[in-house]
């Protein structure tokens, strides 16, 4: 019987094409929009966590409170012992990376050794030379390298491409870092520019310099010391897991006997990405906005499909009356209509998923260059905005699409329940 009605459904454009189109368009928009929003948002989260915050972060509270000043004297000593503690007290999947955040003046000398150009820079010391380091992959440094090589020797640096352009620095040139050491003294150390990097984040391309962790420790007199420990979960891990591990680690911190070289007032804290740079609030808002978008589209789809169902019901009053007169029970008629709605929902959702998913996939692979718009923003957002094709995005499109189709049909078919067969029969004759 289902095949018989399905045959009729496929032939009747008025009862198939319009609701199918509504579902397909609705699902396309939801899948594409969710994909785009997820892509932009997750891109921002990934970028922020990889460059700056980690998924988890262990930092001395005193350093965190005055982070903008980069107070190296509040770094944490005993790098190896701290790492062992982190591995022991966090989730085994978390990869911990030590970093030193620093700031200094970068001086570019001319051929006579006199200052040719000079500018304050933000810097990061991180493991760039160990064979098992994941930092190069994490920051996509190989693919971001515009010119030169990654640091291999002592005192080599990577420089943001725009910074190099402003300072008129080329690969192989020697520059000097002028800054403050761990104990407050002035430091000056020469570095060779090994490579120029396009981070893809305007703020970093203009101001960022990367050096190896060991070189940073030597330059700033910080042997065995780091300012931050950034923890990274595997990509598939849910945000909620970050919070769970953070809470568990925070509880363990109280029982930690501090390493001998720590200062008496060192008080490490564990932060998740949610706790930093207002990301938690942004995440919550994103979820609300995403829910609102999906909810609005679902509501609109139900509304349009309900009306489509009513129009189709009026169009098919003769058929309904006939089916009832010929002995199809009410409930079977309603079930048949629901199945019809289900079919339309499934087919429309499939088409919408294909279109919306295709659009998201294109934006995921090719991306949309928004560098000009982000140039002045200072936000840690990749210049090339990419969508993200996720199973969740499809679910958020397909489920409302199918639901709207079935609900719209059922709401419209309530009219059948409210009329007796004889009334339908009379209307059938009148029609």
């Amino acid at each position: 019987m289902i095949r018989f009605w399905f045959r009729g459904l496929m032939r009747d454009k008025s009862r198939f094409l319009f609701p199918f189109t509504v579902v397909a368009v609705g699902v396309t928009l939801v899948v594409a929009l969710v994909g785009f929003m997820e892509g932009v948002f997750m891109g921002m989260i990934d970028m922020t966590s990889n460059l700056d915050s980690g998924h988890l972060r262990l930092v001395n509270k005193a350093f965190y409170d005055e982070e903008h000043l980069r107070p190296l004297d509040r770094a944490l000593a005993n790098q190896r012992e701290t790492h062992d503690w982190l591995v022991k007290h966090s989730n085994q999947e978390v990869d911990w990376s030590p970093r030193i955040r620093w700031r200094a003046i970068l001086d570019v000398p001319d051929e006579q050794g006199e200052t040719r150009s000079q500018t304050p820079v933000m810097g990061m010391g991180l493991d760039l030379k160990s064979p098992d380091s994941k930092e190069i992959e994490r920051l996509r440094l190989k693919s971001s390298l515009v010119e030169g090589t990654l640091p291999k020797g002592i005192n080599e640096m990577l420089m943001g491409i725009q910074l190099a352009e402003v300072l008129d620095v080329s690969v192989g040139q020697s520059v000097t870092l002028l800054g403050q050491s761990f104990d407050g003294g002035m430091v000056a150390d020469n570095y060779k520019v090994a490579g120029l990097v396009r981070f893809g984040v305007s703020a970093m391309d203009k101001k960022m310099v990367l050096i190896d962790l060991t070189d940073a420790q030597n330059t700033f007199y910080m042997e065995g010391m780091v300012t931050d420990w950034l923890g990274y979960f595997p990509p598939s891990t849910d945000f909620d897991s970050y919070e769970e591990v953070k809470l568990s680690m925070s509880a363990s911190l109280a029982d930690w006997t501090p390493p001998k070289d720590w200062a008496k007032d060192d008080a490490p804290i564990v932060l998740s990405i949610r706790d930093q740079q207002n990301i938690g609030a942004i995440m919550d808002k994103f979820r609300v906005i995403k829910g609102f978008v999906v909810g609005t589209f679902t509501f609109l789809m139900v509304l349009v499909l309900w009306n489509a169902g009513i129009l189709s019901g009026i169009h098919r009053y003769g058929e309904m009356g006939l089916r009832l007169a010929f002995g199809e029970p009410h409930w079977k008629l309603i079930v048949a209509l629901a199945i019809e709605g289900l079919w339309i929902g499934i087919l429309g959702s499939a088409a919408g998923s294909l279109l919306g998913g295709g659009f998201s996939w294109y934006l995921q692979e090719v991306g949309l260059n928004m560098g000009d718009s982000f140039a002045q923003s200072g936000l840690m957002i990749n210049d090339v905005v990419r969508a993200r094709v996720t199973v969740g995005g499809f679910i958020q499109g397909i489920v409302p699409g199918v639901f709207a189709s079935v609900a719209g049909t059922l709401v419209a078919s309530m009219a059948i329940f409210q009329r007796s067969e004889a009334n339908l029969f009379r209307e059938l004759e009148a029609g």
């Binding site: 019987m1 095949r3 018989f4 045959r7 009729g8 032939r11 009747d12 003769g318 058929e319 009356g321 006939l322 089916r323 009832l324 007169a325 010929f326 002995g327 199809e328 029970p329 009410h330 409930w331 007796s420 067969e421 004889a422 029969f425 009379r426 059938l428 004759e429 029609g431």
Partner: protein, 236 residues
């Protein structure tokens, strides 16, 4: 008289129109035998269609009883009435009411599908029935491609294909010209003889009355006469 198929016992049907009650049928009693070929005639509002609706289990009487082979339709649930119609009743309408997206073959197949039968099992029967009404060459055409007379032939095949005991035909010739009406009535009479299904017409059309074996005239919801074609009265 042949074996009784339908019995109406003192049937009344009232409709509420605003605050007034309208009496559509008033104390109607009659019997219809198996294989009957009869008509309800009368002016508009006389209660013909209401009577067909009650016999077809589409509506329930306000008072009185409608019995089908001794079973009171009043005692049947909505689903049981649907099953009763599905199994026993064929309908023919003035406006044909064919399903426009289906072919002649599929329109005739439709009641069998409703009865839960598989298309492959009944294909031959459907094709035979289409042949009986003279539309074998049009079997794959859609209703829009057929004339009014051809559409009504499809409706007759559709009503008969499930081999019902009773066919209710509401003004089946009202939309047809004289020649097509004659052909349709001859066809129905022929099929009535062949398939033994009782046929009850509701009609204004005098041509119909020339074909039927019994005529029940209704006026203001009451039976004013009930005669056989030979002029003898039928006792209720």
């Amino acid at each position: 008289m042949s074996e009784t198929l339908i019995t109406l016992e003192r049937v009344c049907k009232l409709y509420q129109v605003g605050e007034e009650n309208f009496t559509a049928l008033n104390d109607v009693s009659l019997e219809v035998g198996k294989g009957a070929f009869m008509s309800f005639v009368g002016p508009s509002g006389s209660g013909k269609t209401t009577l067909l609706n009650l016999i077809g289990g589409l509506d329930r009487p306000t008072t009185g009883s409608v019995l089908f082979q001794g079973a009171n339709l009043e005692n049947m649930s909505r689903n049981q009435l649907a099953a009763y119609r599905r199994k026993n009743i064929g309908f023919i309408f003035q406006t044909y009411n064919l399903l426009p997206v289906y072919s002649v073959y599929e329109n005739v197949l439709f009641p069998l599908i409703l009865n839960g039968q598989k298309e492959n099992d009944v294909r031959t029967r459907v094709e035979e029935m289409v042949g009986k009404v003279g539309l074998r060459d049009q079997i794959n055409k859609k209703p829009a491609q057929l004339s009014g007379g051809q559409c009504q032939r499809v409706a007759i095949a559709r009503a008969l294909v499930k081999d019902p005991l009773l066919i209710l035909a509401d003004e089946p010739t009202a939309n047809l010209d004289s020649e097509n009406s004659r052909q349709i009535l001859e066809l129905m009479l022929e099929l009535n003889r062949e398939y033994k299904a009782a046929v009850i017409f509701s009609t204004h059309d005098e041509k119909v009355t020339r074909f039927v074996r019994r005529e029940v005239r209704l006026e203001d919801g009451k039976v004013s006469w009930d005669k056989r074609s030979d002029g003898t009265e039928v006792e209720s």
